[in-house]
């Protein structure tokens, strides 16, 4: 067979397989863990609001006790563009540092390993982390350039490397941004863990994760790291062409919980996205709750804060059709 004939045939096979996969009816979601999960939605209209009080209340509602724990706060620091809102706001991180100290954590550090840019501190500067967060440089670790250690078993990989700061933490708090995402549909607390993977080993971007598969990698990261909590910054999120070039979308909420699947499912419902159609949530429905009936909503109701985030054409079919 000539190359000229082979390429269209191979392409037709690929297209056929792809179409078949798309038309396949998704399997029923598992019920998830035995106990229901608490997710707190706290209203915060601006970053000048008393975020510390709201976080303290949210953590209390979710029953989190960080006393004596080494806490690693993992913000979402991706790139900086003054015209939009790519990163977790500095005020949210500063409030979280204060909250975990107040609640008796033995150590509170901030760690991030951005996926595209090499100059992490410069971005932190642009995002006002250095000016707003007290002692930022003393408590910050660039996870892309930290010392690393291998762990056995990560997805289908026999060995995978993580920053030692990540492996040493007793509790990892995903301080994510509520955004749409051009590869995953939405990027929330679980996708935020891409930044735990060291660029020094896997590059910029961490292309290995793309080859494992984005939803598969999100699932693998969240199966590996189970001592976690999420605080999602939805005070001003991002809609449209996220996670970098989208438009600011005020949602006026902080969403918190120990079950990151349930937190992300709740965020999706707030954003007008059907969480049962988000691949990575389907893949992790056994370790956390996607079904609304298994999530105890505390604080505000979803209906009271729900606001549809604009979706690019690629993800229009993720739109939540039912009324909350």
């Amino acid at each position: 067979m000539t190359r000229r004939k082979f390429i269209p045939l191979a392409g037709a096979a690929v297209v056929g397989t792809y179409a078949g996969m798309k038309l396949q009816r998704p399997p029923k979601l598992p019920d998830g863990p035995r106990a229901d999960s608490a997710v707190s939605i706290m209203r915060a209209r601006t970053y000048s609001d008393d975020l510390v009080s709201r976080m303290l209340e949210g953590l209390r509602q979710c029953g989190l006790d960080p006393r004596g724990k080494r806490v690693l706060l993992k913000p979402n620091l991706v790139e900086f563009d003054p015209t939009t809102v790519i990163n977790t706001d500095a005020a949210v991180i500063a409030a979280a540092v204060e909250v975990f100290h107040k609640l008796g954590a033995s150590e509170v550090r901030i760690g991030e390993g951005p996926g595209h840019r090499r100059d992490t501190l410069d971005m932190a500067d642009d995002a006002r982390y250095r000016s707003v967060i007290p002692h930022f440089e003393e408590i910050f670790t660039d996870l892309n350039r930290d010392d690393v250690s291998p762990i056995r078993g990560f997805g289908h990989e026999s060995e995978f490397y993580f920053a030692n700061t990540v492996l040493a933490a007793d509790l990892i708090v995903s301080l994510a941004k509520m955004k749409t995402h051009h590869w995953a549909g939405a990027t929330l607390s679980m996708k935020n863990f891409f930044g735990l993977v060291p660029g020094s080993v896997y590059g910029w971007p961490k292309n290995k994760l793309h080859y494992i598969g984005i939803p598969e990698s999100i699932a693998a990261l969240n199966r590996r790291f189970r001592n976690t909590f999420a605080i999602v910054d939805g005070i001003v999120g991002m809609e449209g062409n996220g996670p970098i070039q989208g438009t600011p979308k005020p949602a006026g909420v902080l969403v918190m919980g120990s079950d990151l699947v349930a937190v992300d499912a709740t965020c999706c419902r707030i954003m007008g996205i059907d969480p049962e159609k988000v691949d990575y949530l389907r893949m992790t429905a056994d370790i956390g709750h996607v079904h609304a009936g298994r999530i105890e909503q505390r604080g505000e109701t979803i209906a009271s804060v729900q606001t549809n985030f604009a979706l690019i054409d690629e993800y229009k079919d993720l739109r939540l059709r039912t009324t909350i």
Partner: protein, 297 residues
């Protein structure tokens, strides 16, 4: 030599070398190939630095894997893009032995997975979410992954430097292919980002640091092709706040013959080893020319 700016950085590098001979990204941390390379290049030929460079060279030589690649750090298994740095360092030290040859052979064997048949088939039928031209062969961060600007540029520098010693038709072809890949991934604003100029029909912006690195990889190309990206690089260099980006842009532009003003005589303030080394390299009296492969534009 060099005044406070250069001396404070070289002194910092001399003082922060690990006992195994390498450098960490930060003082006292595990040794990694990347900061060790830049530290050795910065210290190359500097007074009282021969011993430090020799110890580092021995260490990174010991990191070569049986397949010819080099591992990126003391505690990481498996070779990566830093193999390019191993070859560049060998060229700078004038070492052209069988070990270096194996490194070159590994680089010639590795091709970004985006050039694979399946991705090309997807591209042919416009099924990719990106508008990447996947017809060219570049280099990935790790074998089995896609090609990106930074590893491709470092590999181009290494192959061009070693070409005189290990001349082959395949080496020449891969250099041409690598250059074509870099040129095809230029962003619509004129510079380069990590290597993905468009996703889902949305144009993505370039970054200053990768623009500098891309230009290093493209040394030797003609004026007409590079005039516009050089202008972008000059603008980025004036505008960027990032010390890392400024250092890479300065190194690149000096290698294109730009006469740039020396930096203010300020002592080093950051504890970032890689940054200190790159800033030292970018100084007018620094070793920026060690990244040179013969610029035309």
């Amino acid at each position: 030599m060099g005044g406070l700016y250069l001396e404070s950085r070289l002194g910092f590098l001399r003082a922060t070398q690990n006992t195994d001979g390498g450098w960490g990204y930060f003082p006292g941390k595990q040794s990694w190939f990347e900061p060790t390379t830049y530290a050795v290049l910065a210290l190359h030929g500097a007074p009282d630095s021969d011993g430090a460079c020799e110890r580092a060279w021995k260490l990174v030589r010991s990191w070569q894997m049986p397949d010819g690649s080099s591992r990126p750090g003391a505690l990481v298994q498996g070779g990566t893009w830093v193999t390019a740095h191993a070859v560049t360092l060998a060229c700078v030290r004038g070492v052209y032995d069988a070990q270096v040859r194996r490194g070159v052979d590994w680089m010639l064997e590795v091709v970004g997975a985006d050039h694979g048949l399946v991705t090309r088939a997807f591209s042919y039928f416009h099924l990719l979410k990106t508008k990447l031209d996947v017809s060219h062969e570049g280099w990935p961060w790790r074998a089995g992954n896609s090609s990106w600007i930074e590893p491709t540029s470092h590999t181009l520098v290494a192959l061009k430097k070693v070409a005189g010693r290990y001349q082959s038709a395949e080496l020449d072809r891969r250099v041409r292919e690598g250059e074509a890949l870099v040129l095809s991934r230029r962003c619509s604003d004129g510079g380069w980002n990590c290597g993905n100029p468009n996703v889902l029909n949305f144009e993505l912006p370039s970054y200053p640091e990768t623009t500098g690195l891309a230009l290093l990889g493209l040394q030797g190309r003609g004026h007409t092709e590079l005039n516009s990206p050089l202008q972008v690089a000059r603008r980025f260099r004036m505008e960027t706040k990032s010390s890392l980006a400024k250092a890479w842009l300065t190194i690149a532009l000096r290698n294109y013959g730009d006469s740039l003003e020396p930096p203010a005589e300020q002592a080093r303030t950051s504890s970032d080893v890689m940054l200190a080394a790159l800033e030292a390299l970018s100084h007018p009296q620094g070793n920026f020319a060690l990244f040179g492969t013969g610029a035309k534009a």
